[in-house]
Symmetry: C2
Subunit: 128 residues, 2 copies
Amino acid sequence: MIPARKPAASRSPCPVASTLDLIGDKWTLLIIRDLFAGKSRYRDLARSPERIATNILAARLLRLQSGGLIIARQSPQRAGSSEYRLTARGRSLLPVLESMRDWGLAHIPGTAANIRVNAAANRESVTP
Amino acid sequence: MIPARKPAASRSPCPVASTLDLIGDKWTLLIIRDLFAGKSRYRDLARSPERIATNILAARLLRLQSGGLIIARQSPQRAGSSEYRLTARGRSLLPVLESMRDWGLAHIPGTAANIRVNAAANRESVTP
DNA sequence: CCAATCGCTTGCAAAATGCAAGTGATATCG
DNA sequence: CGATATCACTTGCATTTTGCAAGCGATTGG
């Protein structure tokens, strides 16, 4: 298990608070959701239905990297650009994502789950 | 199951995104954590170690009420002030809280779980 | 070679957050 | 009873974060 690069500003020793310091906003978990679904390119992340602004996407990708949740490696598809993948640490957020998905499905009318975890895209290969 | 009062601005039909629209910030889940722990008064919520600003606390309590996650009722302790309790809907967020707690404990050094769900404080009595 | 696309960055307006200081109502104590 | 402290907020304002649109160099497809 690799510890985070930056401990960041921790508000308290509460594990919930510390987790929220890292992923507690409206966008981060959506990016992680998309990575689970198999997306790995900037363009695809930017085109999710929620339409994250590109500056925010870039900022979140940096934060996720420094938090050790994702890695960016040279894209084999396109020279000079990165391909983003969840690390083991990032993948371990799956229960958080699932519990939120389940809550939304049960309590928010009009929601529907149509994203599946893409196992092939989420095999470990390199860890930072 | 009582639907939310305000559907609020939904970014997409994704259950994760819709859940984040409601609880996706750094403070809301900490308030819910404290309510689970048995806190019910404004003062106690304001004094948690993370020190939420009082204007933000007031704003979040309103949002949680309009989202149907908590109810405010006349405090039997203090005239003119409210006592806040989780509704069944609010209590159903426990798995989200637990998965975040577990993730924090496993992946963020220096965190420790020292809050327990207070069953007595979280028995259903009145639903909005 | 040329146009379209990609992966960002930049600049700026708008909104959210954080801080400190009120305010009026209640409880507490002598 | 009266003074003081506390409670539950509200208000005003500085700072930070977000969102939007445009731009920009590199890359790709034709």
